[in-house]
């Protein structure tokens, strides 16, 4: 297995479970994970939450939830799930810390990918 994927696996990502989705192509998966880590939706989510733009924040969170779950990034998934549901219900209260945690996890992901 690709060493970076291994690191991600150790970090808690569901690499094994997600790899078939990428046709067991580790490189392809790694590319996708790398793309996810750069996805502008992360910054958009934080920005919309700061502006208390719930609907736009939900769109960003919903996008992130899709690609994160697609790539099996469980450490990020745990955060994004707790963000999407309140936003679906129309509330952005108290989500900014979670978003920061998500960003922390994202940075963790990036750091792992850079290794």
């Amino acid at each position: 297995m690709n060493p970076k994927l291994q690191l991600l696996e150790q970090w808690g990502c569901d690499i094994k479970g997600s790899l078939p989705r990428f046709l067991n192509d580790e490189e392809f998966m790694l590319e996708c994970i790398t793309e996810v880590s750069k996805d502008p939706a992360f910054d958009a989510l934080e920005s919309h939450l700061l502006q208390n733009e719930v609907r736009q924040a939900f769109d960003a969170a919903h996008t992130l939830k899709g690609i994160i779950s697609n790539t099996g990034l469980t450490p990020l998934y745990r955060y994004i799930v707790t963000i999407v549901e309140p936003l679906r219900g129309g509330s952005a209260a108290g989500l900014l810390p979670r978003c920061e945690e998500l960003q922390t996890a994202r940075q963790k992901l990036i750091s792992l990918l850079k290794r």
């Binding site: 078939p20 046709l23 192509d25 793309e35 899709g66 549901e85 945690e101």
Partner: protein, 1200 residues
């Protein structure tokens, strides 16, 4: 001369002589004489025998010589005996009528019938040669006699003597010197010569005849005469003389009349003067316009004097008055007046001697006349009282007064009858004088200064009309001779209005200036109202209101139809003017009229005139009619009878109204009023009267109308429960109600009242103005007992809810208090660790291991904090039913693996054994919310580890409760050997925010929500969470959860190649992928390309729709459609594709791809026309299988 002491005989004699000679009272003189008197007189024929002869003697004596004498007693002798008898003798001188005689007299006295009487009397004179038949003595010889006689005549007789022969020659028989002296003759010869010896020439020619007649008459009666006449003196002057004499027979045989002549000129002149004065007075009396009379003050008012006017007034002569009424005034005083005259007179005399009175006299012929009498009461020295009276005839005045009164009464009646008021207006001084007989003056003359300004308020006319009135008065000042105007005035007491037609006729002074305006006002209200009513009727008739179907006007006097209007027909309707029969006339607008003959007769001209004469100006009849062939209706005809203001004819205005709708409306209204309200009524604030319009009698008594304030107490007694009675009595007072509805518009009062059966029920009274009028108040009373009781029940429920909410709030407050502690605990740890980390990093050589340790602990605390907050949010969602479960393919081994990792770590850290026992193999394609399943199990297992002491054991056992083709129900049993739960707390175990006790909270922390959330989640998964526990021994939680089973093609036994695993049917297919995110797009594209599919991509729904529309027919085999996309979402794009008219639009498989796996999302994608729903992340096999299946189906349809 001194008299001897007089005895009874002398006294009696003197009394007799006094009566005989001095008083000349024969009757009195006779009273002194005895019945057997024996009297020797002085003459030969003067002997008297008996009282009868004495009487005759006196009669003769008095007639011949009625003159009084004076008796002077020269000597008196009284010989009265002790027994009263005796004699008396006197010598006396008798003087009178010009003679003086010496007389001796003796009288003899004896008692008779108890009184002393003279029974013998002897009288003598000194000359004894007195001849028979002579009363006066003469000389014995003719010469001597003549001389003696002459001497006697000259010396002895005072006054003159004249004698003449009683024949036509009137030759002088004798004359004495005294007479000659009177007349101025020096001698008898001169006298005789001057008179031609005729005595008649002495008499004033004017008196001669009268004297002759009088003398003759007297001589014929008693041979003596007494006459008065004017005698002519020598110098031609006359003197008045009195001649008293008698006829004597001279020796020559001739009869001579010899008389003593006394000059009475002084007396006569005095008498004449008095007479003249009397005459003057009489003349004066007679010219006085009224009567003058003197009467005695006695009941008969005896008249002692009256002037001619008195008699002429009465119509009687003096004689007639004397004869008929004996000179009594009472004879002619009107009977009714006489009764009060004496009392009236005496009343006035109490103050003065002056009396005045008005009374009636009955004149000759029965004529009654009114007199005004003035009288003065005078008393004579003797004490007699006489009234000196004058009166004037006031009959004319009285009649005038009576006539005036009658005229005034007629005037008053006429004014009252005519309804007019008259007054004068002083134009220059602006003063109105209302005479006392004015109907509006109340019997007193009224003066209004500064008219009309001073009475502006009292007149009660509008400001505009007041200005008109002032203008009219000003016109008079400017010279108008007549002004007039109509003014509506209001009576301030009754508030009634009337119209006064005021007319002024102006009087001018000599210089042409207006002085007085004579005002007349007449009440023309009736005529004004009649005119107004007539105009209103005409207007009303022309403005047919909604319910009126026809109107008509009939002249009852001419019996002609004046006009007729029918709604919906041309105006006016052509109709036979003689058709005055009502029923026939209605056939112009009715098909049939079912009114009775009696009704029709009442509406005929005769019947209506009869009603008008009885004082009715409005007549109504109701009847059933057929207005169209298929419609019956109830018609009411109202007839208003109005007198034409000009012709005076009676006009009947007929208004035929269709009452059918009104009656229905009325019935509805009555039904509503009687069913919904106990009572409905109105109060008129102006009169204070209440009128009940519907409902039962409560505020009003029988009849429905009463004075409101009189019935408040009665109403409250009968209809208000005792506890509310005093309050309601105050609330129901009219002033209070008026104030309330002015303030609130609608004022409502709720009270505990009494129903008709005496039950205590709640009522509502509502007060408000009726319509726009502020004079009428509408009152309704409604039984709201049921409503109130329901409200009370709701109120109780609400209070219970509030109490529950308060309790919940209290619990939440307790929870929040606890949560704040729970949240602060990890937060404090995070902050504290962060500070430590910061300090460590601030060191010159930071210890990275410590820093790492701090960071990891911070992370743990953060996770813990996050879990608490997540629990709270989950509980909030569950309570608000907002939580929904996602539907994902659940890889059971993977789930158990994750749990094993998490719980295993925790258990190991606490030295607790943890085991997972899987009794059955889970289906591979279970669909469920993996996250929630993990949440439930981690919660249960986390608690188990938390409450299991070191060395204990925690286990998770998975078993299958049941399974069918579509679902599988799994049982997850979490058992521990921990502290266990008390039996008492078990029922509360799954309630939110509850923990067994504070020690647990303190020792183990937690929100108290975990188990409540876990149970709700299991129930959302059609399962449940139950517990069995024993304190100190451990607990067993059983979570049952059900999952759907996703069927694959192979599951369905399809003919297609098994999943596999080659998916050759998809080879060379062309797929359109609509996905906005590049990563997802790439992944899917790579999956499809793996099967040699051709993939086109579109970044949003619109691009996808355009790509499809621009493609060739059947170019694409399928469309993968993301749902959430910018520009156009997947649902809209799918619907648009399906809506396309292309042949492949309805058949091309469209597969949704979304992270939302909720039922609702699936339903929405189905509704948009999509064939299948794939949950992200997209797995290759489900994608391939779905595509393969749909392509196969689509192919099958094409084959078919």
């Amino acid at each position: 001369m001194s008299l001897q002491t007089e005895g009874s005989a002398l006294t009696l004699l003197k009394a007799f002589l006094s009566a005989d000679l001095e008083q000349r009272d024969a009757e009195k003189a006779l009273s002194f004489l005895s019945r057997d008197i024996w009297w020797y007189g002085t003459g030969a024929d003067e002997d008297v025998r008996g009282i009868a002869e004495a009487g005759q003697y006196f009669q003769r004596k008095m007639e011949s010589a009625p003159f009084a004498y004076q008796v002077e007693y020269l000597s008196c002798v009284d010989q009265t005996q002790a027994d009263g008898t005796g004699a008396a003798h006197v010598k006396c001188r008798i003087t009178g009528c010009g003679i003086t005689l010496l007389c001796r007299c003796s009288a003899f006295i004896r008692p008779e019938d108890g009184k002393l009487k003279i029974y013998a009397l002897h009288m003598s004179i000194p000359d004894s040669i007195q001849q028979d038949g002579e009363y006066l003595p003469f000389s014995l010889t003719e010469q001597y006699e003549r001389e003696l006689h002459q001497e006697f005549l000259n010396d002895m007789i005072e006054g003159g003597i004249l004698g003449r022969y009683d024949d036509p020659s009137s030759e002088i028989f004798i004359v004495n010197r005294q007479l000659l002296g009177f007349l101025g003759y020096p001698s008898e010869e001169a006298f005789r010569a001057a008179l031609n010896n005729c005595a008649a020439n002495l008499i004033h020619p004017e008196d001669r005849d009268a004297i002759a007649r009088s003398t003759a008459a007297q001589l014929a009666r008693n041979k003596r005469y007494l006459v008065e006449y004017r005698m002519i003196r020598r110098d031609g002057s006359t003197i008045w003389v009195e001649s008293r004499g008698k006829a004597i027979l001279t020796k020559s045989g001739r009869t001579a009349l010899v008389g003593i002549i006394n000059n009475i000129s002084a007396r006569k002149n005095a008498e004449l003067l008095v007479k003249a004065q009397n005459q003057e007075i009489r003349n004066l009396y007679d010219i006085i316009p009224g009567g003058v009379f003197i009467c005695k003050f006695n009941p008969d008012w005896d008249v002692t004097f009256a002037n001619e006017r008195f008699y002429s007034f009465l119509g009687y002569t003096r004689q007639e008055f004397t004869q008929l009424f004996h000179d009594k005034m009472s004879g002619v005083i009107y009977k009714d007046d006489l009764a009060n005259m004496m009392s009236t007179t005496q009343a006035q005399l109490a103050n003065s001697n002056y009396v005045e009175n008005i009374n009636r006299l009955v004149c000759k012929g029965g004529t009654v006349k009114w007199i005004s009498i003035h009288a003065l009461l005078c008393r004579s020295q003797e004490g007699a009282e006489h009234f000196y009276c004058t009166f004037v005839d006031i009959t004319g005045q009285k009649e005038a007064e009576q006539k005036l009164r009658e005229n005034e009464e007629r005037y008053r009646i006429a004014i009252e009858g005519a309804g007019i008021t008259v007054w004068e207006y002083d134009i220059q001084n602006h003063r109105v004088i209302l005479p006392q007989n004015s109907p509006r003056a109340d019997g007193e003359m009224l003066v209004f200064e500064n008219f009309p300004d001073s009475v502006a308020d009292k007149l009660g006319i509008s400001p505009k009309q007041f200005d008109e009135l002032k203008g009219m008065l000003h016109s008079m000042e400017c010279g108008a001779s007549k002004v007039s105007g109509d003014f509506w005035v209001t009576n301030p007491q009754t508030h009634s209005r009337r119209c006064e037609r005021v007319t002024y006729s102006v009087a001018f002074d000599q210089e042409g200036r207006p002085v007085t305006g004579y005002g007349v006002s007449m009440d023309v209200t009736q005529s004004k109202l009649a005119e107004k009513r007539y105009q209103e009727e005409l207007t009303y008739r022309d403005q047919v209101v909604d319910s009126v179907v026809a109107t008509c006007c009939v002249n009852l006097n001419t019996r002609k139809v004046e006009s007729m209007r029918i709604v919906g027909r041309p105006v006016p309707v052509q109709i036979d003017r003689d058709l005055f029969d009502y029923r026939k006339r209605t056939l112009a607008f009715l098909v049939d009229n079912e009114m009775s003959d009696a009704q029709n007769e009442r509406l005929s001209p005769d019947g209506l005139i009869r009603s008008y004469d009885e004082g009715n100006t409005a007549v109504s009849e109701e009847y059933l009619a057929r207005i169209k062939e298929n419609r019956y209706c109830w018609i009411r005809v109202d007839v208003n009878l109005v007198k034409h203001p000009e012709s005076g004819d009676i006009l009947a205005f007929f208004y035929n109204r269709d009452l059918t709708d009104d009656l229905i409306r009325l019935n509805i209204m009555n039904t509503v009023l009687t069913k919904d309200y106990e009572e409905v009524g109105i109060v008129d604030f102006r009169t204070g009267f209440y009128k009940r319009n519907a409902g039962n009698e409560a505020l009003s008594q029988a009849g429905g109308e009463c004075r409101y304030s009189d019935n408040i107490e009665r109403f409250c007694t009968s209809c208000v429960a005792e506890q509310d009675r005093a309050r309601m009595v105050k609330l129901l007072q009219l002033p209070y109600l008026k104030k309330m509805i002015q303030k609130h518009r609608i004022y409502e009062v709720q009270f505990l009242g009494l129903s008709r059966t005496g039950q205590r029920r709640f009522f509502l009274m509502r007060f408000q103005y009726l319509g726009s009028s502020c004079n009428i108040m509408l009152i309704t009373r409604q039984d709201i007992d049921d409503v109130v009781k329901k409200e009370q029940q709701k109120q109780r429920q609400l209070e219970q809810a509030v109490a529950a909410a308060n309790q919940a709030s209290q619990i939440k407050s307790q929870f929040l208090s606890r949560m704040s502690h729970e949240i602060r605990t990890p937060l404090n740890a995070i902050i504290g660790l962060a500070i430590l980390g910061q300090k460590n990093l601030a060191r010159p050589e930071p210890n990275l291991d410590d820093t790492r340790d701090y960071v990891l602990k911070i992370l743990d605390s953060s996770h813990y904090l996050l879990s608490i907050i997540n629990d709270i949010l989950d509980m909030s969602k569950i309570e608000s039913s907002k939580i929904t479960l996602s539907c994902q393919v659940m890889d059971c081994p993977h789930v158990l693996s994750s749990i094993d990792t998490i719980i295993g770590t925790q258990a190991a850290a606490k030295n607790v054994r943890f085991k997972i026992r899987q009794q059955v193999k889970c289906p591979e394609h279970m669909l469920g919310d993996v996250t929630r399943v993990e949440q439930v199990l981690i919660n249960l297992l986390g608690n188990a580890v938390k409450f299991t002491p070191e060395g204990g054991e925690v286990s998770l056992t998975i078993d299958k409760r049941w399974e069918n083709r579509d679902q599988v129900c799994l049982e997850f049993v979490v058992a521990d050997t921990g502290v266990g739960i008390s039996e008492e707390f078990l029922p509360h175990l799954f309630k939110p925010f509850t923990q067994e006790n504070a020690e647990i909270t303190s020792a183990y922390g937690g929100s108290g929500l975990g188990l409540a959330i876990a149970r709700q989640l299991t129930r959302l998964m059609n399962g449940d969470l139950t517990v069995k526990s024993q304190k100190g021994k451990g607990s067993v939680f059983t979570a049952v959860m059900c999952f759907s089973i996703q069927h694959t093609s192979s599951d369905a036994g399809d003919e297609s190649p098994p999943a596999g695993k080659s998916y050759s049917s998809l080879r060379n297919r062309k797929i359109l992928v609509c996905e906005d995110h590049p990563l997802n797009t790439i992944v899917v594209k790579r999956m499809l390309e793996q099967l040699d599919c051709t993939v086109d991509t579109a970044a949003n729904g619109k691009l996808g729709m355009d790509a499809f529309r621009s493609s060739k027919l059947w170019e694409y085999d399928a469309v993968l459609m993301d749902i959430r996309m910018p520009v156009m979402d997947g649902l809209s794009a799918a619907a648009a594709i399906r809506a396309s008219k292309r042949a492949d639009a309805k058949k091309i498989p469209i597969i949704a791809m979304t992270a939302n796996a909720y039922e609702e999302d699936i339903r929405l994608s189905r509704n948009a026309g999509m064939n299948a729903h794939l949950v992200k992340p997209i797995e290759p096999d489900p994608l391939y299988e779905t595509l393969a299946e749909l392509c196969r189906k689509q192919k099958g349809q094409d084959v078919k």
